[in-house]
């Protein structure tokens, strides 16, 4: 079995002391920051990214993956304990999770989330490992036209599945693409939009945009919210679910894992969509639907399993095709580029240790989260009671130091402040910033492939529709656009999100 060989290689890499340590460090840091209310995974990852840049590529990626899971898991903890979803994917966890907490079953809810996530993570990792090789083979037959169409589909897919008005989100993507073009044009060497500033010759660093828009933006926004906290004060007494709880959650976890693995591969809001789907499925198939919203354990187990499975399979397009499906994945992709790894099909063949080591450490990271989080839940609860006025200066300080440390550039700090202002304006205008990040990371790639495709076809635009794979991808893009644009479907989509 080739797959087993690959996994063996991966585990032998991931189980080295250093790599285990970075997986551990990443998970702890991710959870630590992710638990803080008002700081979603995007902000968490943006803030911690720069501190991984000094490591070896594999160590850095392992730590980042740990941060990514930790942040997602921390978000669920906040959702259950504080009734405050840190991210869209834990919006549904709040419903039943917090009810369980109020009934004194916070520990059980947290354990359910952890165990369900772990199981789903295993399934997701296995699917990722199994599908990586064949997809990579497919990707090798892609030319620039196919890549362009694939990215177009990814971008449109990302916004059509996400909530919010489609046209505004597409605007954000285009704006992101444009911002991605700032700097030296690779093909001609011309400077674009640099205003004569040498600091912009290499383009805007993605950490600057991420920290500015997500971290600063979120902190400033939460500064104006009156603090309404429904935090849990009673100590967590029982962690381990009872036999009955296990029997209740097991099928939900299985269904959630299946849904999550499928939906996660789709570009876009894979995680939140997966948890929404899983929640409504649990509610529909349940024999006691009236218990949902009142602390049903299935309402925690299903969505948590689904979003963790999706978190795992979301790596499939990123790692095999080099095309991120979400803003979070765009950050991971940006981090790989910082380490001189151009994500795409060639990574698996040219650097198999890195590729399989990363996959194996994803599984290890999931395991660590379970081992870590259940005993340490008390610490996370304490952290929740740290007042905001102490926390936010720390967040801002670490962001500033992080942004500076990427290139030892004061200019980057100023630029991040500028993007903080921009992020705040976007928030006030209800413009979703995540598609901007996606567009930003894909901007240079999409231009390069667009150009190359047209060079090869001698300027004939029909190349995008005459090559079969490209045509199919563009057709899917068009169908997605039409589906979302038609009012009847639009209103149903809204209902689905409100539900």
């Amino acid at each position: 079995m080739e797959l087993l060989d690959h996994l063996a290689l991966g585990f032998s890499t991931a189980l080295s002391f250093n790599n285990l340590f970075y997986a551990f460090l990443g998970s702890v840091l991710g959870t630590l920051i992710g638990v803080l209310p008002g700081l979603g995974p995007l902000a968490t990852i943006s803030m911690l990214l720069p501190f991984t840049f000094g490591l070896d590529p594999l160590e850095a990626l392992i730590m980042l993956a740990g941060i990514y899971y930790g942040a997602a898991y921390g978000g669920s903890t906040t959702a259950i304990l504080v009734n405050l979803p840190g991210e869209t994917s834990s919006v549904v966890t709040v419903i039943d999770g917090h009810q369980m907490a109020r009934q004194g079953r916070a520990g059980v809810a947290l354990a359910t989330a952890a165990l369900g996530s772990f199981f789903a993570g295993c399934v997701g990792t296995f699917i990722l490992a199994a599908f990586a090789a064949p997809l990579t083979q497919l990707a090798f037959s892609f030319g620039p036209a196919e890549y362009f169409s694939l990215m177009a589909m990814g971008l449109v897919g990302a916004v059509s599945l996400a909530s919010g008005p489609l046209i505004k989100s597409i605007g954000m993507i285009v704006l992101g693409l444009l911002l991605g073009l700032v700097g030296t044009d690779v093909a001609s060497g011309a400077m674009r939009y640099t205003f004569g500033l040498p600091q912009l010759w290499d383009g805007i660093d993605f950490v600057v945009i991420a920290v500015g828009i997500f971290a600063f933006g979120e902190v400033i926004t939460s500064l104006e919210r009156k603090e309404i906290r429904d935090a849990l004060s009673s100590p967590i007494t029982r962690l381990w679910p009872s036999w009955q709880d296990f029997k209740d959650m097991a099928p939900a976890v299985l269904r959630g894992s299946a849904i999550g693995s499928l939906v996660g591969v789709l570009p876009g809001a894979g995680l939140s969509l997966a948890s929404f789907f899983a929640y409504s499925l649990e509610k529909k198939t349940s024999r006691t639907p009236e218990r949902f919203g009142k602390g049903a354990i299935q309402g925690v187990a299903g969505p948590e399993a689904a979003n963790n499975a999706a978190a795992q399979t979301a790596f499939i397009p990123t790692l095999t095709l080099g095309i991120p499906g979400s803003a979070t994945m765009a950050l991971m992709l940006g981090a790989m580029i910082v380490h001189n790894i151009q994500p795409g099909p060639q990574v698996m063949t040219t650097n198999p240790t890195l590729f399989w080591g990363l996959i194996a450490s994803m599984w290890i990271g999931n395991l660590m989260l379970v081992i870590l989080n259940l005993p340490l839940v008390g610490i996370w609860v304490k952290l929740l009671s740290v007042p905001f006025r102490v926390l936010f200066p720390a967040i801002i300080l670490f962001c500033c130091i992080g942004v500076y440390s990427v290139q030892n550039s004061i200019f980057d700090i100023y630029l991040a402040a500028g993007f903080g202002l921009f992020g705040y304006v976007l928030h006030k205008l209800h413009c979703e910033p995540a598609p901007l990040m996606l567009g930003f990371v894909l901007g240079p790639m999409i231009e390069e492939n667009f150009r190359r495709a047209l060079v090869l076809s001698k300027g004939d635009f029909s190349v995008f529709v005459t090559r079969p794979i490209s045509a199919v991808l563009l057709a899917i893009t068009a169908i997605l656009l039409i589906m979302v644009a038609i009012p009847a479907i639009r209103s149903r989509r809204q209902e689905a999100f409100e539900e």
Binding site: I167, A190, V390, S405, N408, G420
Partner: protein, 153 residues
């Protein structure tokens, strides 16, 4: 009471302004042809697309009137304090060193937080300074000017 969706008008205007800015910027670069694209080609058309999207957003906002929603409060205090402190941090870092910059930033942004008190702000600043020195200077070995240049011992 029905009114125009101010938020979307604002968003549309933002797109139009930025779209035009990028388009105008791109027209200063060599355009080239589709087969041999110059640096201006791709951004020019993206800018045009963004402008059109902005126009559509404005059109939709003006046409479909929604129930009047009070515009959210813009808390200038939090926004300006945080941004000003971040900029000041950037300015102070090379001139006054890390210690002064960290203290300034932490105490400064604390003013934007809920119920400011000197005691809490000073304590937070002290703890964060110790953390910064331990983590970033000692452990991660990031390169900073630590002391103010005029006070180098």
């Amino acid at each position: 009471m029905k009114t125009v969706n101010h938020r979307d008008v604002g968003a549309g205007l933002l797109y139009v302004v930025l779209g035009l800015a990028f388009t105008i910027g791109a027209s200063g670069y060599r355009m080239g042809t589709a087969a041999r694209m110059g640096p201006g080609y791709f951004p020019f058309w993206l800018g045009v697309i963004l402008t059109v999207i902005g126009a559509v957003v404005i059109f939709n906002a003006v046409r479909s009137r929604v129930a009047a929603e009070p515009m959210e409060r813009w808390s200038m205090r939090g926004l300006l304090t945080v941004l000003a402190c971040v900029v000041a941090f950037g300015f102070l870092l090379p001139h006054a060193g890390l210690i002064v910059s960290v203290l300034f930033l932490v105490i400064g942004v604390s003013f934007a937080g809920p119920d400011f008190s000197w005691r809490v702000a000073l304590a937070t600043a002290a703890v964060l300074l110790a953390l910064t020195l331990a983590l970033f200077v000692w452990l991660l070995d990031l390169q900073f000017t630590i002391w103010p240049p005029f006070a180098t011992f």
